[in-house]
Symmetry: C2
Subunit: 429 residues, 2 copies
């Protein structure tokens, strides 16, 4: 990779997600050379992917060109690359576009869907961890209704209109809520010649409550909201297999469905060279110390979802969410500058800013440290916070226009099958 | 196709472009059953496709769900289908989702890129007739710059930054202008480590003027605007071959380029069963009479790009553009209602509303019947007219927000490679 070596130390960041971008921003305009590698040329705002899947937003509205985020930073280099191997001995990376040496390496490669080794489910289910995946899901949902019109076989039609979402975390809950609103508000108008009341939205959760990381109030209220919207919530149920048409569970329950969304787990996106036992811990994450250093190295760090930083409060690492990632990125930025000035680094300290989830129109749950609330006000807070954290004025404006429109008109207009999704031919990551 | 037969006559429309939608709207709430078939579930606003390719707009902003356009029309049926054969003898269509009988058939299948039989150019060039194609072109343009960073071979780098647009009609002119603005405004910031001045935008026109259908003033001014923006305009040049890296012309001129956009011609998108000599005329269009009836049939019509309606003013048919399509759709709607009431139909009358093209920021050319103007005012008129003709309040708002933003910030933020484009593996239409 032809990136010139300068007198500045070179810090290579793998991944332009929340953690990587937060770190790069901290390092901008400092006396360091920063090389950021990502397999996409954009940063995407994962918490809103479900709105792309359900036609509420356009993909470009929740993504932002990485080059643009850091365009005023003179020592910043971005490369569209897939990192294949971390050579920790020689301080080098092997990528699909060549080799790159580093002085400091920060792994912020994020997470990927965890199928817990079930390759059948992996093959047949839909995931929602990236923009192409979200667009595929959007296409499939819409195609299903078009196909439902064509069949006179009632079982087939029901299977096409039966949606199973596995995983009762924020992703599953928000997707289920959005689908339920589509069922109520859009389908009857779009498909007058289809009995869309037959459409079923099932949310399957393996434990006995939704939104596990949140408060009991939030969890209960979310479930209540979902049931009001007509979502079937199945608790203490585990999906065991899915062959593309039938999902079986640990009990007698089976689902006949053409669409199973797997939101039941994530795991660290490990890179070769850091996949040894010395590094990898629970959830396929890389164990780091309080300075985000990887075991045995002074100059190699991990932040965000991929990093497992064990603390008293979080004995198995911080939740794989935006806030810990952003804060680790920011604090590591400060620490690296300290390190370069040969000052001692400060251990990572997490400031819990609370968590939230939206279930639908006027329905959200918010947990803050000393204040928990649910309902309409929570929903406004949710919207405000999400608009605030989106990168870019244009994105905020466009998302805002869409949300206002969707709210007033009970509509979601971005429901185009831009590229048909061939269920058996997954080609995107 | 399980569409119930009612006492109303069934009118089947093939294609949800400008013509098909205009017709369907006219027939809404009348005592007819309308079945519209399209291979996409959306209507797209073709005149703005080049802005999707160049990162100015998001795809969903210029498209609109067909079901939504006609949602309040009780006797309207939409089906996502590819029409494979028109059986004129039995008044039936064969499609990929089954057979459909009709009482009246309106072919509004539009046009497709015309490569004039050159399969090599067809294989290696990019087209811009659909949303997926426009997104592919966007991906390729951006990928080229990412690749240009990686090579130290100067010839290769130049080929990656060399863009050849074949065809000096509105599509070619508007795309060339937009690319030139990206070169000036965005590339230097996004690629500080690349000498983006080396990027070349070439517009190749086979005749001696651009925008052939427009006035001499418009044509000259467009050329002047393009040259001001740094576009190389090549007139009286025909591209003869393109193998993916080298384009040859009728003269000594050759281009080393990784990106050749073919905007040099369109032809009717003929459907089997109507492909006989009795129907097809110049430009692969179907000859129709003044009532848009296809030769030999009382109940089969063609409108829009696919229809060749010969008049004194337009001896080879109307230009393949939005205005004639919309007007033919509307007037055929009136005629069909007359036909059903057994009143005589009225011959098609074209009302020329003028034509326009934009070249870039503050630069457009407008020809109206008695009034031709170019420059800033023309540009505002262009924007206003395009916003006005877009379908849907949300689309107008979102496009407006994007345009204001792009204007103020000299930017185009929708420059994400959502799906990488593999040059040798075209999979979209």
């Amino acid at each position: 990779m032809n990136i010139p070596r300068t007198s500045y130390p070179r810090i290579v960041i793998i991944g332009g997600g929340f953690a990587g971008i937060a770190l790069a921003r901290k390092l901008s305009k400092q006396e360091v050379q920063v090389v950021l590698l990502d397999r996409n040329n954009y940063h995407n705002f994962q918490p809103l992917l479900y709105q792309v899947s359900t036609g509420g937003l356009e993909p470009d509205s929740i993504a932002y060109p990485i080059r643009k985020i850091l365009k005023n930073f003179p020592n910043f280099y971005f490369r569209l690359a897939d990192v294949e191997f971390v050579d920790t001995e020689n301080n080098e990376l092997k990528t699909n576009i060549g080799t790159l040496s580093f002085d400091y390496l920060v792994v912020a490669s994020g997470s990927e869907t965890n199928y817990f080794g079930n390759s059948e489910i992996e093959k047949h289910s839909m995931a929602m961890k990236s923009i192409p995946q979200s667009l595929d899901l959007r296409s499939l949902i819409l195609e299903n209704f078009e196909d439902a019109l064509l069949t006179s076989d009632l079982n087939e039609r029901n299977a096409l209109m039966n949606f199973v979402i596995v995983g009762g975390g924020p992703t599953g809950v928000e997707l289920a809520g959005a689908l339920a609103e589509i069922k109520k508000g859009i389908l009857p108008k779009d498909y007058p010649d289809l009995d869309t009341r037959m459409a079923q939205i099932n949310l399957v959760q393996s434990s006995d409550c939704l939104l596990k990381g949140m408060s009991a109030e939030a969890s209960e209220k979310a479930e209540e909201f979902l049931e009001k919207l007509g979502v079937n919530v199945w608790k203490n149920v585990r999906v065991k297999s899915y062959d593309g048409t039938t999902a079986t569970t640990n009990g007698d329950l089976t689902f006949k469905t053409e669409t199973l969304v797997w939101a039941a787990g994530v795991q660290g996106a490990i890179i070769k060279g850091l996949d040894g036992e010395a590094f990898v811990t629970r959830g396929n994450r890389i164990l780091v110390n309080a300075y985000n250093q990887i075991n045995g190295f002074e100059n190699i760090f991990a932040i965000g979802d991929i990093a497992c930083l064990v603390s008293e409060e979080f004995p198995v690492g911080f939740p794989m969410m935006a806030q810990p990632a952003i804060q680790q990125g920011q604090q590591l930025g400060d620490n690296m500058l300290r390190l370069l000035e040969e000052k001692p680094m400060k251990p990572f300290k997490y400031k819990d800013k609370g968590s939230m989830a939206t279930i639908g129109r006027n329905k959200a749950v918010v947990d803050m440290k000393n204040f928990k609330f649910q309902g309409v006000f929570a929903w406004y807070v949710w919207m405000f916070v999400h608009l605030f954290f989106l990168i870019g004025f244009r994105n905020r404006m466009v998302v805002f226009v869409n949300w206002v429109y969707n709210y007033i008109r009970f509509d979601r207009e971005a429901r185009l099958i831009i590229r048909p999704y061939k269920k058996k031919l997954k080609d995107t990551k």
